[in-house]
């Protein structure tokens, strides 16, 4: 146990603690000193705070890795430069295209994109509903003398009204039901790939690839169970449904920083990589001495030379050049030429 504490990354612990304190402060602020906080959701709040700590911790450790740190620093310096507005607009456009719509997955497979999009959009909408509710940022109330109107409050401020039993009320209060359907359809589509695709069957693991889908389906099904209970069973099984759902959700929240779902947060780095590539193109391209063609940005090649040295690889040549100055095709040809020369020197090309 003590060994665990000794191996903790101090910087990451500090950042993660700050993140948790900040979220706790937002909960206090948004719920007006817990006046609007729903005590029934306390277990979800604790699970969320644990997830915040874990995600911030892992993110911080991840950013300390040399290649990640390089991209982080570079993309931040490009973003906060004289081209700030241009790069912010570019990042917003890419955020919609690649993070919210995940269009890049469609180039891998259209069905895969459809499945992932349904799953992701269901999860994101569910986050958008549950986090403000859990934090006490949003709540609904009925006022004395008016038992047919819902009053919605956001951060303690009035944010609109809608009549009890209206279409608006039905849609709003079943928000998580719609999300569950999206997640279940998407997860089943993705699960089908995982049990039928030979390549995936050979390389996937239970904890990294199947368990996340099983958990998402379990969360959605147990969540639907709560709605089913109060709609059709007069709340007779409410306790069972609510406890089962809470257990699955909290398990998921606790596991969030460690497992596959961390890619939700890692994916943002794709925006940084895009900025890096764009700025590099503006600064100039590297030309391969073998093919005579441009193959990457000079910025990228130079950074990789520094990075590989930092990681303990030394591709410097005696004549001052570096093996990484060659394009991938140039490297393959260099290897083939060296092989040819070795064979030639031996006096036998084959054998």
């Amino acid at each position: 146990m003590f060994k665990l504490f000794q191996t903790l990354n101090r910087i990451a612990v500090i950042k993660a603690t700050i993140a948790v304190v900040f979220v706790a402060f937002l909960v206090l602020l948004g719920s007006r000193d817990l006046q609007n906080f729903d005590p029934a959701l306390i277990s979800y709040l604790i699970g969320t705070l644990f997830a915040v700590f874990g995600i911030a911790y892992r993110y911080s450790v991840w950013l300390q890795r040399p290649p990640t740190r390089l991209y982080w620093r570079r993309s931040m310096s490009f973003l906060f430069s004289k081209d700030f507005i241009q790069y912010v607009l570019r990042s917003i456009r890419l955020f919609f295209k690649n993070i919210l719509l995940q269009r890049f997955i469609a180039h891998r497979s259209k069905t895969r994109w459809a499945g992932h999009f349904l799953m992701a959009i269901g999860c994101l909408l569910a986050f958008a509903i549950t986090i403000p509710l859990t934090f006490g940022w949003i709540h609904f109330e009925l006022r004395p003398g008016d038992d047919v109107t819902y009053y919605a409050k956001v951060f303690g401020f009035d944010a609109g009204t809608f009549p009890l039993g209206s279409v608006q009320a039905f849609v709003a209060f079943h928000g998580l039901v719609w999300c569950s359907f999206l997640v279940i359809i998407g997860s089943v589509m993705m699960m089908k790939r995982r049990v039928t695709d030979g390549g995936l069957i050979a390389t996937q693991s239970f904890s990294e690839d199947l368990l996340p889908l099983i958990l998402l389906i379990a969360i959605s099904v147990t969540g639907l169970g709560i709605s089913y209970d109060y709609t059709f069973l007069q709340g007779k099984t409410y306790q069972f449904m609510a406890v089962t759902h809470a257990i699955v959700v909290i398990l998921w929240l606790v596991w969030l920083p460690f497992g596959k779902f961390f890619h939700i947060f890692q994916r943002l780095a794709q925006l940084g990589a895009n900025l890096y590539k764009h700025e590099g193109e503006r600064r100039g391209m590297a030309t391969c001495e073998h093919t005579g063609q441009e193959f990457a940005t000079q910025l990228h090649v130079n950074d990789l030379k520094t990075l590989t040295k930092e990681l303990g690889f030394d591709y410097d040549k005696k004549d001052g050049r570096n093996h990484l100055d060659l394009s991938p095709e140039g490297k393959r040809s260099a290897l083939a030429k060296a092989h040819f020369e070795a064979r030639k020197e031996s006096g036998k090309f084959f054998g």
């Binding site: 991209y71 891998r108 050979a202 794709q270």
Partner: protein, 189 residues
Amino acid sequence: MPETNYNHEMAFFVDMQRCIGCHACEMACAECETNGQESMIHVNYVNRAVSTQTTVQVCMHCEDPTCANVCPADAIHQDDFGVVHTANTSRCIGCSNCVLACPFGVPKKEEKAELMMKCNMCYDRTSVGKKPMCATVCPSQALFYGTVKEIEEMRPDSVPVNSFKFGNQEVKTKVNVMMPKGTHTLIVE
């Protein structure tokens, strides 16, 4: 990884000198299920202006893979058998670090998919004791998958080498290149 029947006796041997540039390996590679029907093997002319020499390149599965080290997203994983797997699709951010840092010029970037892909030694086949697709179709045996004993009998004047020198850097690999007897390292200047 699921349970496997990976055969530790089997190894990959490449002899670029025997490559005739027929591209049969490319066609076969696209049949590999772990690639999603994309061909990951490279066949190219070495210097078309002066020679018809072609070369073939599979992933060499380095013991300490540069690609995995430079990956900012922890997307490249080396398994217990020493196979360096293609990028984890959920993690890869398509930055091309691995493409540019690999000393053998192996990983490919699928631009629109924002994804790096590379040979993973037909893991769907090798993990159940079968040979990689490319090695099963190569007509000149520039690509051979078998035991050390088999290759020694077939190539009595050659020796498998898995050590390479790129500048000051020595790279050791799981895949071997067939070299003249007495050679220990292939030095790439």
